[in-house]
Symmetry: D2
Subunit: 437 residues, 4 copies
């Protein structure tokens, strides 16, 4: 069966275009590691983080397993042991090296993994050029999926290496150092959005992941949503006014989490002799009030909203916002920076795509009528539909072509090593019809 | 402000009725502990479980704190130290003894706690009889809330003591022993339910919790749902055919949970020399195929549904089902049993209320327009709206007057010490419109 | 084989004496629980602590298993399931209920356990009276061992219930409340003790445990040892002057332990608004400077010694001290108190037996030529000869007839729920002979 | 003060000899890493293991801190942040980066650390050549200590990297592959050794660590000790006959440890389809019966001895053996192998030095009259004198000049990543004098 998310599309007909796109994705990945040492690429700092070299190998394993080994009869598997080491979670493909122990394997080395990349790349490139038309219909969607998959891992590679580099007492600026300051942005008005019986989800004109399907009806009340994300400067007020010490602001699980981990500020903030600093991939620098707050958990996002007397938006609300106001912030590749850009605070919709992923109040669930693709590639999104929360809009580490209004990202509520921030929605006050009941 | 969930209702005008209801709830609680030893009431077997004596005291503390101390000027606090010990999680009221250490306190003893109950009960009864009309409007809703709260704890007391008693190599039948067998029920047809633009949530003709509010519109696709819950006999097939060994059936978190805890069957099943037994509050007995499966986690429910090629219903679907087919099974007090009853398998709607709570695929979230009551009683439901999953319909340990179509119960997906089971909904197959895209 | 520790002795010939002693031990145990509630006897507050009711049953199981079931052919086992529940660690006898979960079993109840005690007691009493002379030689040493074993558990029962009762915010004085104060004792001189080729260990004139055997030669340098144990008042200086904050004073493992558990003072000390209190079995009271410090770990003992520039004695040194200066302090039954008595500070040897167990610098190892008895009773002492440290002298919770100069108690260095204190020995300064090497 | 362990010795007078020795130690360390990748040197696989690059830096930090910074006024500290990162446990010198997180720091890189080594080496070499005679007396003993310290870390570097490399499904042979097989050695007779009043400990003719001091008298009974260590072949019998399943053979803590960690054989043994293999630094190869068993814990050593009906020797016994029979096995540098050599089984004393460290039954305690050196270098041995067990004799990873009869190594009883094995001593049977008591 061909799954909707992977079905054949006309654009695949031009093999040269396909080959260019494939090479572009692959070389983009290598560009990200230019400033890293071999040691940087080896380290795993927590179970959620994978070593850079693992990312480099895993995305390659995906192309090898689902394309080269299936469709290229002459293909020579680079190393039969790599399947065990670089399979992430595809149970149908075989057993996996434990996720939390990826950093314990010093071998294969970075250099061997770069050879592995080149080997698989050559084979896939040859396949793109030479596959008979009768097979191309099966190959092209998997090639697209592999590329989208590698785009996702580009972002993870960046957030993971940020976590690795941040451990040091004096962390490195591995991606250059020239990040400008930005003043606190102006107050942000709420945009009034009309609800009603809307449609949500992908209509599948282009590549989408299975979890964006099917497009379906939703009833949405009218809502008001902030024109821009919350800034560092605003979040600093929450910190300064004791937001992290007031249990009434926090979800119950959030309060436990906060105390268990002694959380008192966003992940990469540091307070040095009363001065707030933020660690970025461009070094440790004074906290910039005009940047969007990022690297916060859903708990912190919800507590901030509670403190403001407002709420987090739902994912449907953010999808409607993105459809009508597709304002763009910084995305991967823009201006050589991997950090959110300054907020303008002009009152116009801002940063709907890019800069920071925005936490929603929506649990990550299947859309009505959803079912995953058959086979191993179906183990992609569906099995995570439990205990996670949806984020929308992409970040400064998301490639521009990889994000769209229907895109659903998801992480557990306590995750904060992604570029995650928030945008406020207005809490409805009018429940008067119930009061007299 | 009077919160919707707590607003004044005419029925409160008859003080005698109010007093009778109050005394009924209180004495019902005491009836539940008749077969228990003092030692039974002391033990805490896991952090989620509270000692029986703690439940007895906590529900009393609720009446003392929110009613007697506020409205009865002559009230003598029984023991000023009890606030710290028996506050569950009301941060606004004060600090709390750690939840996981409730079983470490041998004092106050059961006997002292029974005195505490009597003391507070006398005071509240006096208040019901003598409160001036001008204050009664503030007292009555809190009295109602306290009673509903005690009803909830009656169920928790039962599921907690079941966990306690189950630890023994040869567990006690503390609630009598005469549970009949029941054959495997007949196959269960799917009921076709019409969707469309429906309304969900409480319209507040009677007492409801804040999380059932406000009533709001939802778009629901037509759906098909099973006439009865899944039976032990059916679930046994899943066990026997390797359901617990096949990672493809499980949510990702579920597979980790299953392996971490070596889960191979529902919580209270035991395999003794190849024979399946189930521990019940009425003793250890051969597994009865005709009873609904219960004490399963949401992970097990979802894996079973996946194995059958179907899915869990959403909470909206179960609410619509309950509104149109309010079929009742066993509830607390029925026939002296605290165990789900035999399924008929007649093909007609069955066990929509009572018998077992039914897991849904819905994360526990706020309804659009929801906000919690002000003050400490507002710390009731809202702060748990993260990382939990909704269950519907009540169980054999739920009092009949405590359940309704809009009632939302919620637990983390790995919880299974409640009487939790499942009902299947049909997975939609027709996504053909997307296939040709 | 008859093991040395269990060999036949003339005193056993008088059956009436034997019966009296047996009954005395058994009734002494029951006297200890007079002030306890059923709930007190159920609770287990840490893995090292056993519920009181478990102690009551376990010492009974010992008599049942090693005497009644072996030697009394008419004996009816009280409950075949008790072997699994009340065996502590005798692997040769069978599997055991996990130690850390003893408090999870609400049944058998205290009342059933008291019946169990009476049942076994009657049988053993009958056996003492009627056993044929030919079997008496095998029975008598096991009877003695069972009694000594129950004496040991009397002390453990007390230290365990102290830990249980201490949990409460306002802990109970279950053993009466009239504990007098005592001023800081006078400075304590060091006694000069002659070394040389000495003999250590039991010569077996009376009952001894296997670990006291065999008596053997040791070379001991001359040493100086304090006339009395360290007092609360002295230890308070160590606390006040930052002893718990200075890593240089601590053994490496001790420093880790201290930080992991946030230890800042002896176990039962509390600082309430700047006033030091100590929880005792006779209630919470102001810290008494003249009592010996107790409930400290070997790490705290060693750090205190280091702070004073002195050292802990070895077990051989304390044995020599006890042989030459058998000064007695409070022991179990004295004056109805279960707490160390006031130190005189007269300069004469004091409190060598009783009051507090004294930590030594000696690891718990086998004496040269040691080997354990054959069979299950051999699993008594030998298998703990690893990673523990020896204490000497008995405490206020040790029965007078149960202690002697050769008695070796042993606990891991981080244990402090026993009545454990310390006595200083002088550090030798003269290593000048090495300096010129 | 000049501490005995660090006192001035005539050999230091020849500066050229001193310089040569210094350079030899430093270059020997670098020779050990020749086969390692940068990634190998980054990884930390458990808290006890340090990354190779950390060892390279830490031994350098020791020279920098205790020599260059103190005695060379012109010395330029390489990087002021290194003190925090590469101090191991010298509390008096300052705070330390947490031990279990050494592998999380990707920077400084290996290459930077090699620069650091060269920088400090140059400075120390200059100091050796140019220090005024008046200061040389203070420098020379610290230089010696630094070299001995680096020798110790050479061994740790090897055992740590062995643990790192062993993680891989197909582990690397980073130190060459040509390890020969060896047949099971002949039975080993027991050597009869005379006891009496002996002297133990260093007499300080040469460099010794403080824990070997002072030399002191001990009474030792006559004893019998095996001529050679236990072989793989012998230990395999223990494994095959269920030694790991029989609780009666194990120390109590050992049995808990074994079950908690599912231990069923020595650390680096693997059973592949019924064939036993052993991972060595020279690759994965069939288990060689004639090699000494190694990488066992003290628990495994004690259980084996119990199974044979014998016992572990004390440290005093092994010191006497070593004094009288200084037979040598493989030591670091011998034949390019880092693995124990084949046992001859000739009946003559064998492998008393080298091959494998031998576990003793002796807890690691201070000798009578011991006290540590003043100042930070005194934090070397004394603070570990708790909860550890002594090993004697050195291993195949110990440099020949670093081992001697009085040398005391120590590890917790559950450690087994060192080259640790055992030699049996005979259990004394004759306790007959006690039997008739």
């Amino acid at each position: 069966m061909t799954h909707p998310a992977l079905s054949y599309r006309p654009a695949y007909d031009d093999r040269d275009v396909c080959l260019d796109r494939f090479r572009q994705v692959r070389s983009d990945t290598l560009r990200l590691i230019e400033g890293l040492s071999v040691e940087d690429m080896q380290v795993q700092t927590m179970p959620d983080v994978s070593p850079t070299k693992w990312h480099l190998a895993h995305v390659t394993w995906f192309f090898e397993t689902f394309i080269a080994q299936r469709f290229l009869s002459s293909y020579q598997t680079f190393n039969p042991g790599f399947g065990y080491l670089f399979n992430s979670y595809y149970e149908q493909v075989g057993a996996q090296w434990p996720r939390s122990e990826r950093g314990l394997l010093s071998r294969p080395t970075v250099s061997e993994i770069l050879e592995y990349r080149a080997h698989v790349e050559r084979s896939v490139a040859m396949l793109i050029e030479t596959a008979p038309a009768s097979e191309w219909g099966g190959i092209a969607p998997l090639l697209e999926l592999g590329q989208q998959h590698e785009r996702q891992h580009q972002e993870l590679l960046l957030t993971d290496i940020k976590h690795v580099l941040s451990q040091a007492p004096d962390p490195a600026a591995a991606f250059g150092t020239d990040l400008e300051a930005a003043a606190m942005p102006g107050d942000s008005p709420y945009l009034a959005m009309a609800g009603g019986l809307v449609e949500i989800g992908a209509n599948h004109a282009d590549f989408v992941f299975d979890n964006e399907l099917p497009r379906h009806k939703r009833w949405l009340e009218d809502f008001e949503i902030c024109a821009r994300p919350v800034s560092n400067g605003e979040f600093l007020e929450f910190v300064a006014e004791g937001g992290y010490e007031d249990p009434r602001l926090w979800l119950s699980d959030g309060w436990v989490w906060l105390n268990d981990h002694s959380v008192r500020h966003p992940l990469y903030w540091r307070n040095s002799d009363g001065q707030w600093q933020e660690y970025t991939l461009h070094g440790l620098a004074p906290l910039v009030p005009g940047f969007p707050v990022c690297h916060i958990s859903a708990y912190e996002a919800a507590a901030y909203a509670e403190w403001k007397g407002e709420r987090l938006p739902t994912e449907a609300e953010l999808e409607i916002l993105a459809r009508h106001h597709p304002a763009e912030g910084i995305m991967l590749g823009d201006n050589g920076k991997i950090h959110p850009g300054a907020l303008a605070g002009s009152g116009k919709p801002e940063s709907v795509f890019g800069d920071v992923w925005e936490w929603t109040s929506s649990g990550y669930e299947a859309y009505p009528g959803y079912h995953p693709p058959d086979g191993a590639v179906g183990e992609y999104n569906g099995k995570f539909m439990s205990g996670q929360q949806v984020l929308r809009g992409g970040s400064c580490a998301t490639e521009r072509n990889h994000i769209r209004a229907t895109y659903r990202n998801f992480f557990p509520a306590d995750s904060r090593w992604q570029f995650s921030g928030l945008r406020l929605a207005k809490r409805t006050r009018s429940t008067s019809s119930l009061k007299s009941a």
